[in-house]
């Protein structure tokens, strides 16, 4: 009888739906998955990694404990999570990729240093989901086995593709870091040799003395065992001296060897400095070795060249003097067989490299980590974005982030720089990579001025001063210098030479001359062991300089006294600095545009300006300048004027050529009331900028470049605006068609937020947002309307308030008014479709950053269409001699309506943008001035929109 347990075996398969495996079926381990993880979730590819973010790991193959992790960047245990750094270090360091001979080569009398090139390896642990770019390097340590200490720096990421796609850039960055470490290590190694040689000399002299004494004490021609031992010891010390001298010679030849690595990055200055130091040491110790050189005449002949006649008394005297000048180190007696002890403490990485170089390397790696942070797809797109923007500089001024001047070609962004702030020109990249994935020097963080209290920025000053590099104080490394500040630092150099009070002119010149000649210090000790007092002073100076240099354009000229004594000084300083910027950029654009035919623009200019009154404003401004600005303005300076400048309140024309410069309202510079007489209207105009906490809400940093991050933040506000206000489309149309929009409100914070959000849509807002006035508490004038396209206006219930309302009504035909309190908009009606997509209050876009991207692509499209309209020849040039302006006008209308499918209001947008492009193209000298090409208006009736 068959029992139920017997049946289980038969039923089980059916119950669980499992059939016996087909012996011919392909096992999964030999197949490919039909539904890989990426198909079900494209974002989940890297989710199984045990660390949350990419990081940099420095590991060492210790001769005592094997591979071990030393340092991670960022130095936060949370980043690595449960990821086993020990195991990973073991994995990445388990191969000697630099397998070369170290130690005593056969037939060689002295140990040889092996100069091995760095190796670069990409490998991973697919099970752990960790992949790494590993840069192997070797440092020298006198006490290490074979004098070498193998290290590696690894960029660890969960995304293998990210590493491979950016391999060349990673390689370049890590090569820079490696060279920096190695340069420091060579100096430290030379220093260590110097100490060792001094110890050996001392030991030698002691032994020699002891041996002499013993010889004298003992009977003639009879040597005791002790004396023999001493003699052997002495011989060993002498041999050791020769060995160490040879090592010194070898290390000094480091940069004369042929480089096998075509991708190595070297700083010529670091190299030559190190070389000269080593050579100086070599010279010195060749001489010092002389007292015992009689023992080995053959070798003396060998060393004769380096000796330089050191055997004479004069040389000894010199040496004695130099020894006297070295109080920092007391030679020690070296006991026999003290070296190569296994229980010795190995030097740390910091000890192996000079502090300066170590810190610089860490800074460089931190910068590397920052620049590679984030998802590959965003990194990749951002680079593409920038590369494409570079090809269309002619329209970038409309809506794009300022690309800066230093990255005209991508190669320059990757131009190697010295981590210890040597001049960039000293660098040579042996074989620059043809594929250039430029590191984002406009990394969002780096665009902001560095915090003077930031230890990182201080570190670089320390490095400079320790090296005694006066000139390099004036140069900021790309890691802490924005594009803005690079310009300002150029200017600053000039001002330092004349204004700097802390250091005399002659002293400075001496220092600079010393720098330029690159001559080593007569006493290498003083260079290798800098005077701590001197060092501190230098550090302090350089720190303060650096702070000012990176604080932004506006402060560049106020070095002598940070607190402005007069408002006028500040304003003129501002203008002067901006003029320089404008001029520099103008040249660049004119170069870029050489190829573009100007014919259509020239023809269009007449068309564009014919409906406007181009002369009116300049004339007005000329009239308003009967006297120099300094004489007409009355400054009521209040105690608050002593408060240092806030960038946000630096309002004014960026260029003195601005037609509106004469009516410059030095608004709120000092945080409180400043009044002056308006030449035009004859009223007292009081403008203020509140010191309320809400001001920080404004993303527009006047006087500083508006960054991508700020614009992204503004995207959130813009999305909120579009969702809240059904007439958002009308407001956007006003801005895009060049009609000034005034945001009126009592609450400063709210107005500022609205202005910040709407600023995204202001064409050609200026490099520093000059065409936007975030907060104004006085009536504005006609010229202000030409200058500012978006104004936040304070609603006040006072006589000033009534005059403001008067100005609003007076200029109402030129402006649109968005009342933030009443939630109304007064502007001409808009019935177009062009903006429907970015101002739809029913949009399902959830995040401000996504909306910002959407706006960016829409504005990019508008700019392209405007470019097309501007440079399409047949729209601006008559096809025959008989064709009059009407014919051209008709063709343009036809193009806008039929080709581009735009209605009347939409056409206004394109016409305005085209007008700006034309103006920009024809007058590139003013390109960074935020001046409108003309002041136009139309007589459309305004309509009041309500929620």
């Amino acid at each position: 009888m068959i029992g139920s347990p017997d049946l289980v075996a038969f039923t089980k398969e059916d119950e669980y739906g499992q059939t016996s495996p087909d012996p011919w079926a392909l096992p999964e381990e030999f197949s490919v998955p039909l539904y890989p993880l990426a198909d079900s979730n494209p974002w989940a590819k890297t989710s199984y990694a045990k660390f949350t973010k990419d990081f940099i790991l420095i590991s060492e193959f210790s001769e005592q404990v094997g591979p071990q992790p030393l340092l991670t960047i960022p130095d936060d245990p949370k980043i690595c999570g449960t990821f086993d750094l020990n195991y990973f270090s073991l994995r990445i360091m388990s191969v000697d990729y630099q397998a070369s001979f170290v130690g005593h080569p056969p037939g060689s009398g002295y140990p040889r240093l092996s100069f091995v090139e760095d190796s670069r390896v990409v490998l991973g642990d697919s099970k752990e989901g960790a992949f790494a770019y590993v840069h192997h390097l070797t440092l020298y340590d006198l006490e290490a086995r074979g004098f070498v200490r193998p290290f590696c720096m690894a960029y660890v990421s969960a995304d293998e593709r990210k590493i491979m796609l950016q391999f060349q850039e990673l390689s370049l960055r890590f090569s820079q870091a490696s060279e920096c470490l190695k340069a420091g290590n060579r100096r430290a190694f030379a220093k260590e040799l110097q100490r060792k040689l001094r110890d050996l000399e001392y030991t030698h002299s002691v032994l020699q003395r002891e041996e002499g004494l013993q010889r004298e004490a003992g009977p003639q021609r009879m040597y005791s065992a002790h004396a023999v031992e001493k003699a052997n010891e002495l011989a060993n010390v002498e041999k050791s001296i020769y060995e160490h001298r040879d090592l010194l010679k070898q290390i000094s030849l480091y940069n004369r060897r042929p480089r096998r690595d075509p991708h190595a990055v070297t700083c010529q200055k670091c190299m030559s400095e190190c070389l000269s130091e080593c050579e100086a040491l070599l010279d010195k110790y060749a001489k010092l070795a002389n007292p015992f050189s009689y023992n080995n005449k053959g070798e003396k002949r060998e060393e004769g060249q380096a000796d330089g006649g050191g055997g004479d008394g004069e040389g000894d005297e010199e040496e004695d003097e130099s020894v006297k000048r070295r109080p920092s180190y007391t030679p020690q007696l070296i006991k026999a067989k003290s070296a190569k002890c296994f229980d010795k403490r190995l030097k740390t990485l910091l000890e192996l490299c000079e502090n300066t170089f170590y810190s610089a390397t860490v800074e460089l790696l931190k910068e590397t980590e920052r620049s590679f942070r984030g998802d590959l797809c965003y990194l990749h797109t951002r680079r593409l974005d920038r590369a494409l923007c570079r090809k269309q500089r002619i329209t970038n001024f409309l809506f794009e982030e300022d690309l800066g001047d230093d990255d005209e070609d991508e190669g320059r962004t990757l131009r190697p720089f010295c981590a210890v702030n040597h001049a960039v020109d000293n660098y040579s990249l042996l074989n620059p990579p043809p594929i250039v994935l430029g590191p984002d020097h406009l990394e969002l963080d780096s665009l902001e001025p560095p915090d003077p209290l930031d230890p990182a920025s201080e570190t670089s000053h320390t490095q400079e001063s320790e090296l005694g590099l006066r000139e390099s104080h004036l140069e900021s490394s790309p890691s802490d210098q924005t594009l803005e500040t690079q310009e300002s630092s150029e200017e600053t150099k000039g001002s330092f030479s004349s204004d700097k009070s802390g250091l005399g002119q002659s002293e400075r010149q001496q220092n600079l001359a010393g720098m330029k000649s690159e001559a080593p210090d007569p006493d290498p000790d003083s260079d290798l062991t800098p005077d701590p007092d001197h060092n501190t002073d230098m550090e302090r100076e350089s720190s303060s300089e650096e702070t000012e240099t990176t604080a932004g354009d506006d402060e560049g000229d106020n070095k002598e006294d940070q607190t402005p004594t007069s408002l006028l000084e500040v304003v003129s300083g501002l203008e002067a600095s901006r003029e320089d910027v404008c001029e520099g950029e103008a040249e660049e654009v004119s170069d870029l545009l050489v190829q573009i035919d100007t014919a259509c623009c020239m023809a269009q200019e007449g068309f564009l300006y014919e409906a406007s009154a181009p002369e009116a404003v300049p004339r007005l401004s000329q009239n308003s300048h009967p006297q120099p600005l300094s004489q007409t303005l009355v400054v009521n300076q209040e105690p608050q004027a002593q408060i240092p400048l806030q960038d946000d309140y630096t309002v004014g024309s960026p260029c003195s050529e601005s037609p509106a410069a004469g009516l410059e309202l030095p608004v709120g510079l000092l945080g409180d009331a400043v009044s002056r007489t308006s030449v035009e209207d004859g009223w007292d105009c009081t403008m203020s900028a509140s010191t309320g906490s809400d001001r920080a809400a404004s993303p527009l940093g006047y006087g500083g470049t508006v960054t991508l991050r700020q614009r992204k933040k503004a995207g959130q506000g813009a999305l909120r605006f579009v969702r809240q206000y059904p007439f958002a489309m009308q407001a956007l149309w006003c801005l895009l068609s060049g009609r000034t929009l005034v945001v009126l409100g009592a609450d400063e914070g709210r107005v500022r937020r609205l202005v910040a959000a709407l600023a995204l849509f202001v064409p050609s807002p200026g490099k520093c947002g000059e065409r936007i006035q975030a907060w104004l508490s006085c009536p504005f004038t006609l010229t202000d309307l030409q200058r500012w396209k978006l104004i936040g206006l304070q609603r006040v219930a006072s006589p000033v308030g009534s005059s403001m309302l008067y100005s609003l009504s007076r200029y109402s035909r030129y402006i649109s008014i968005l009342d933030a309190d009443q939630k109304t908009l007064r502007c001409p009606p808009y019935r177009g479709q062009l903006l429907a997509n970015i101002a739809d209050h029913r949009t399902y876009i959830r995040r401000g950053s996504t909306y910002f991207l959407h706006v960016q692509s829409t504005l990019c499209r508008l700019a392209a269409k405007a470019f097309l309209f501007t440079f399409t020849h047949h729209l601006h040039l008559p096809v025959s001699s008989t064709e009059g302006p009407e014919g051209l006008e008709g063709r343009r209308c036809c193009f806008l309506q039929e080709q581009l499918g735009l209605g009347e209001e939409d056409s206004h947008i394109l016409l305005y943008l085209s007008q700006l492009i034309t103006h920009q193209y024809l007058q590139p000298a003013n390109r960074s001035s935020a001046t409108a090409p003309c002041f136009s208006f139309n007589y459309s009736t305004s309509v009041l929109y309500k929620i």
Binding site: F30, S31, V32, D39, S40, R91, D261, F867
Partner: protein, 462 residues
């Protein structure tokens, strides 16, 4: 009685491969970790003829052994193929190693298939890295099956090593430069119909963008073919251009899987036979452009293509698994079928979806005067627009699904919000986004099952 001394190393077999032109590859090696002898090299392939750099067999062996160093610690999943990439400046070489496990003489061994190039070729090689690795990975899958059966893996590996040598040699002479001059393209014509018919050009560029920038251009006239190749290359990134190949004037190259654009010359009979398998193994669907008869055909969108590709791969591996004899390596040209999957051989279909993005670009760009930088600028603006739209779309989906944690259900909203209601526009932007985030099509268009165009349309209406 033991003979004494260490066991003798087995001799390293070597194949010399005749490659036309200068092959930048120095050698390819197959090494394995012998449980007694440590890392051993089993086979070396070297291109025959002049080379930029010479490596002796000893050096090759030394380098190949190095690729396995440290792999004693390997803890990968069974069947995983890990890639290691070395730039050894000390030796002046680049080594690409694919590490995998395989059965040799009944033991599980760690094996490495490596290719060695001079370090000076780093910039040349890097853009082609993914192509080489993907192709080698697949041949390793086949090789593992062969090893499992106790057969000689070398014959299987040779099936891909040789074509890769040929690919690299051909790219050395015929790859598209990183910067394409617009003057060498159709976009420099005075008027839109000068070189080719307006509709053909529009369809070609549109389909090219819809298939992620992956196209083959065939024709009888090499100049005409290359002009279209260069024109299409304008719409690629510089790195992608380096993975594109012009056609050879006198004879045709073979089709190579993984290149973005390749120009292929028809034979004297006016035909060019495309290998079905290789085309299907391309990472992206492909557009087929015939410049002789002005036709443009395209493969199904990414998710269908990937699904077909995987089904075919499984079928191919399965067939190999069932092979009894070492002599019977199924050739690549055989169409693999099994009970559940029969590939649709008609993989190239007409371009169904019209777009407005490319249409308006083509219409407008010819309005600008040629010979100046106006058209290049306008092209840059167009590309910027496409890239930004792709990123916006990606971000939109990312927000909506919380980075893929929730299914995406609002395609209609996406189309309205991002102004992608025209099907062709959506396809173009989706294709660009797919390159940024692989698997996006499958994620958006539901389960990656085999969907016809009609089914997809139904899905998209949700």
């Amino acid at each position: 009685m033991s003979s004494g001394g260490p066991p003798q190393s087995p001799a390293v077999a070597k194949s010399e491969v005749a490659v036309e032109g200068e092959c930048p590859l120095l050698a390819a090696t197959f090494a394995y970790w012998d449980n007694i002898l440590g890392p051993r090299v089993r086979h070396i392939w070297v291109p025959k003829g002049d080379q930029v750099m010479f490596l002796s067999d000893g050096e090759v062996t030394f380098l190949a052994n190095h690729t396995l160093n440290g792999e004693i610690l390997r803890s990968a999943e069974c069947g995983a193929v890990d890639v290691k990439f070395f730039v050894l400046a000390e030796k002046g070489v680049i080594i690409v190693s694919l590490i995998f496990d395989g059965e040799l003489k009944g033991d599980k061994n760690t094996c490495a298939l490596s290719i060695i190039l001079p370090q000076t070729e780093l910039a040349f090689y890097l853009p082609l890295h993914t192509i080489c690795v993907e192709r080698l990975k697949h041949v390793i899958r086949k090789g593992r099956i062969w090893m499992q059966k106790g057969f000689n893996i070398i014959s299987v590996l040779s099936l891909e090593i040789v074509p890769i040598m040929e690919l690299l040699a051909s790219m050395k002479t015929h790859s598209v430069p990183e910067d394409v001059d617009i003057k060498d393209t159709v976009l420099n014509d005075d008027d839109i119909g000068d070189s080719c018919h307006e509709d053909f050009l529009h369809k070609a560029i549109s389909s090219h963008l819809q298939t992620c920038g992956c196209s083959i251009v065939v024709g009888s006239n090499p100049e005409k073919v290359n002009k279209i190749v260069r024109t299409l290359c304008l719409f690629l990134t510089p790195a992608e251009r380096k993975c594109s190949r012009l056609c050879k004037a006198d004879s045709s190259f073979k089709y190579d899987t993984g290149l973005f654009i390749q120009g292929l010359l028809k034979d004297s009979t006016g035909s060019f036979v495309l290998p079905f398998r290789q085309v299907l193994y391309s990472p992206y669907p492909t557009t087929h452009i015939d410049v002789d008869i002005n036709t443009v055909k395209q493969m199904p969108p990414c998710h269908e293509h990937t699904y077909n590709q995987r089904r075919y791969m499984r079928s191919e591996l399965s067939t190999l698994w069932k092979t009894d004899s070492e002599e019977e390596i199924p050739p690549d040209t055989i169409i693999h079928t099994d009970e559940t999957f029969t590939p649709d051989l008609n993989i190239f279909q007409d371009v169904m979806h019209k777009d407005t993005l490319v249409k308006s670009f083509i219409d407008e760009v010819f309005m600008l005067k040629p010979g100046l930088s106006l058209r290049s600028t306008y092209l840059a603006q167009f590309l910027l627009l496409l890239h930004r739209k792709a990123l916006t779309l990606l971000k939109y989906i990312e927000d909506d699904t919380q980075k893929g944690k929730k299914p995406f259900r609002s395609l209609r909203n996406l189309k309205t919000d991002l102004d992608l209601t025209v099907e062709g526009d959506l396809n173009i932007v989706m294709a660009l986004a797919e390159k940024l985030r692989a698997g996006l099509h499958s994620f958006v268009f539901g389960k990656p099952f085999y969907t016809s165009m009609q089914e997809r349309d139904v899905l998209m209406s949700f």
